[in-house]
């Protein structure tokens, strides 16, 4: 009996002469979890889009249960039992959870063009029950957090189970990037449950997670498949080396570049800061060149704190002082004016202005360096923009390209450049700056954080992982339920262990 449920043979795809996929082959066996890793641009996204019927391959073939298949539309792919959980959220936020789960494939939920809400909600509830989610089918997606939306995506992908004759193949594209703690555990539980009746392709940039959950891992690089490893014959260091093509070392976090901030002047002093229903009595001092990391799970209040520090939300009591002077911080405009920058988690929504060029985005917050009076100095702006593109290794055809066309990692770099280009910048708040980035891009971001510190800029960091928090910070605050539980000194050579932090978090 053939155990291979999905096979890709010699797949090739070009975009206007640029090879995105070059002779890719891989297979997924029954009830197997296959990990798929690679840097940005390695070809993962293209491969997944071919599997979901969005792109047509230029060469090679796809076999499902040994039969050659071709997916012309997303519907074809779903009908063949392939369910996708997209990296970029693929939910329509303006309609309900139930509608999203069955979008375009309502089945019994719609009779003769007429919605039967009761039935549709029951069907949605059944999918949500599979992942034990408390989300209500009739809730509007826009009222959900990003983590909850990810759960809806999963429920949506699982709905192919009922539709296809064959056991489904579920593709999870970077599913863990927005999940934290418990939610992550729920996801892994689900994957374990799913593999009893399905096969899973798990795409992630978190190598430890890939190793933990996958039976086999395929490594992609520059459009080619460069390695396949079984779980028990590889470790994260090797995966990293295979993927990036260079040695992985503790240099990853550039810990050696972390400078002592002892004796540096205090830039930002927060005392007794509270926001009703979000956090209480938060105090800390941020010195020039210091990184203060804030650790905490969803609901710990750290997101609200970061938004308050940027003036995007009001606070109810306490003080925020910059250089010893109190700030009212009523709006982001005031924050920018005094030199506080903010890089948000959801760059798509808050960080970059899609529809504007790379150059325009870079000088969006502070055009003063490239202006002459009220006018833009076009030549200087162009030169500066090119310098940033080069310095940050932003992969873009040119500085005039619409940022919307850039990959996530490169968009994030544009946001970084936006703040770094401002000579007024004193304090930078980084809210998950590496979320969704691949290892190489992450390394670039870490390097820049070190450079910022060397310039005397203070950083408030809400990192993606505990390791990141520990490695990058000088001081760590651990928050739970809006209250600071613990403080750690994390100067070089004095780093706490992740487990120390977890204690205060849950």
């Amino acid at each position: 009996m053939n155990d291979v449920v999905l096979e890709v043979r010699n797949l090739r795809k070009e975009f206007r002469g640029v090879v995105a996929l070059d002779d890719i082959s891989f297979e997924v066996r029954r009830h197997e979890v296959v990990g798929l890793i690679g840097e940005n641009g390695a070809g993962k996204s293209t491969l997944l889009k071919i599997l979901s019927g969005v792109y047509q391959p230029d060469g090679g073939e796809i076999l499902r249960m040994g039969q050659t298949v071709s997916f012309k539309t997303a519907g074809d792919s779903a009908a063949a039992g392939i369910g996708m959980v997209h990296q970029e959220q693929s939910l329509v936020t303006s309609v309900s959870v139930a509608e999203n789960i069955f979008l375009g494939e309502e089945g019994r939920g719609v009779r003769g063009g007429v919605f039967r809400w009761g039935e549709l909600r029951r069907m949605a509830q059944a999918q949500l029950d599979k992942i034990k989610s408390p989300i209500l089918p009739k809730a509007k997606v826009e009222s959900l957090t990003f983590a909850e939306r990810q759960m809806v995506e999963l429920a949506k992908a699982l709905s192919v189970e009922e539709r296809a004759e064959n056991e489904p193949v579920i593709v999870l594209d970077e599913p863990t990037s927005v999940l934290e703690g418990d939610e992550l555990e729920v996801l892994f539980e689900q994957i374990e449950r799913l593999r009893k009746f399905a096969s899973i392709i798990f795409v992630s940039h978190r190598l430890d997670e890939v190793l933990r959950i996958s039976d086999r891992v395929y490594v992609f690089k520059d459009g080619q498949q460069v390695a396949v490893r079984n779980r028990n014959e590889v470790d994260t260091d090797e995966l990293h080396r295979l993927m990036v093509g260079r040695e992985s070392t503790s240099e990853f976090y550039h810990e050696g570049a972390q400078l002592s901030v002892e004796g540096n002047p205090v830039l930002l002093e927060v005392s007794g800061l509270s926001k009703h229903k979000a956090f209480e009595d938060v105090s800390f001092a941020l010195r020039a060149g210091e990184v203060v990391g804030i650790a905490g799970v969803l609901g710990s209040g750290r997101e609200e704190l970061s938004r308050v520090l940027f003036g995007a939300e009001p606070f109810s009591s306490g003080t925020i002082e910059l250089d010893g002077r109190g700030l009212p911080l009523r709006s982001p405009v005031e924050a920018v004016k005094v030199g506080i920058g903010y890089i948000p988690a959801e760059r798509r929504i808050e960080g970059v202005a899609q529809g504007m060029s790379v150059q325009e985005n870079i000088f969006l917050a502070d055009p003063s360096t490239v202006s002459r009076g009220p006018f833009l100095d076009a030549r200087k702006a162009a030169a500066e923009a090119d310098r940033w593109v080069k310095g940050l290794k932003i992969k873009t055809p040119n500085r005039q390209t619409d940022v919307a066309n850039l990959s996530g990692g490169n968009q994030q770099k544009v946001v970084l450049a936006k703040w770094l280009s401002s000579p007024r910048l004193r304090v930078l708040i980084l809210d998950h700056p590496t979320r969704g980035l691949d290892v190489g891009a992450k390394e670039d971001v870490y390097r820049f954080i070190r450079e910022l510190c060397a310039r005397g800029i203070g950083v408030v960091l809400l990192a993606d992982t505990l390791e990141e928090t520990i490695a990058l910070s000088h001081t760590i605050l651990v928050m739970r339920d809006g209250v600071v539980q613990n403080r750690f000194d994390a100067h070089p050579g004095n780093k706490p262990k992740p487990v120390d932090l977890v204690e205060g978090m849950v």
Partner: protein
Amino acid sequence: MSRSDLVSSAPGVDLRKIQRLFGTGGPLVALVVLVAFFSLASSTFFTLGNGSSLLTQLSILLVVAIGLTFVIILGSLDLSIEGVMASSSLVFVLLAANDRNDSDLGFLAVIAGVLTGSLFGLLNGVLHVHLKIPSFMVTLGTGAIGIGIATVLFGGRAPRLMDDSLRDLGFGSLGGIPKLAIIAVIVLTIALLVQRFTRVGRYGYAIGGDEQVMKLSGVNINRYKVLSFVLTGTASGIAGVMAALQLGVGDVTIGGGYLFTAITAVVLGGTALVGGIGGVGRTLVGAAIITVLANGLILIGVNPYVQVAVQGLVIVLAVAVTGWSLRKRVRAIK
């Protein structure tokens, strides 16, 4: 905010239902405030006579605006309304008993007038979707075509509707309620059902919310876009016929002013021009605000020279109030 607040619905289901239908408070409050104010300021505002004249004045605007809501939810726009109303009013009058020719199709003429609107909607949708021309460009053009056809049919003077039973629909009433208003209520009910229970209604929200996602889901978006335009055109056709019933003529300028007012009504009600948010129930509130305002300002004797300015001011205020309640929703989460 805790997780459960976000996920599960708050108690007080009725309030939520009202909100879902008529929008998030703001416009509804504005309407109630206006009604209360005019009732106090004018002894005639809250009378039977004025009530019936309010209903008549609301009817046609409401039907046009309901239709428009369907394309605005897509994130598109239909600027052909006035041209469509002109054409359908003339097609209707010239096929019913009139003083121009011997035709006397009775109710069939009504259907022909309405179908003229549907046809324009179909044309709008097909051109927009298949030639990939932005909807406002397409409909600007087809609107001109509508005026052109109407001008040819007009032939120098407005043909009069001579069918008395049809005329009665225009100015008669049933139990004190103008028949035009009854027609509008029927249109509203159908529109509410279509929006809530049909694919074209539901997918409209999804297309307006995120067209790419709909494509990824394998939905034939074009089909539902075209159907939405057909709904809008049909409503414009009904409105054209209603206007002809009311005025007793088919006329090139019969839709004059309705486009701008209808867009205002839709947006004022709380349907976003970017698409995905809103609904016909909210449009009822928006249209009612505009009608009450125009009527009330005359009743309390505001100088006609400043009426337009006052109307503008009140509308800006109402939108500001609406925007306030939408603020949290529009802003990204976290």
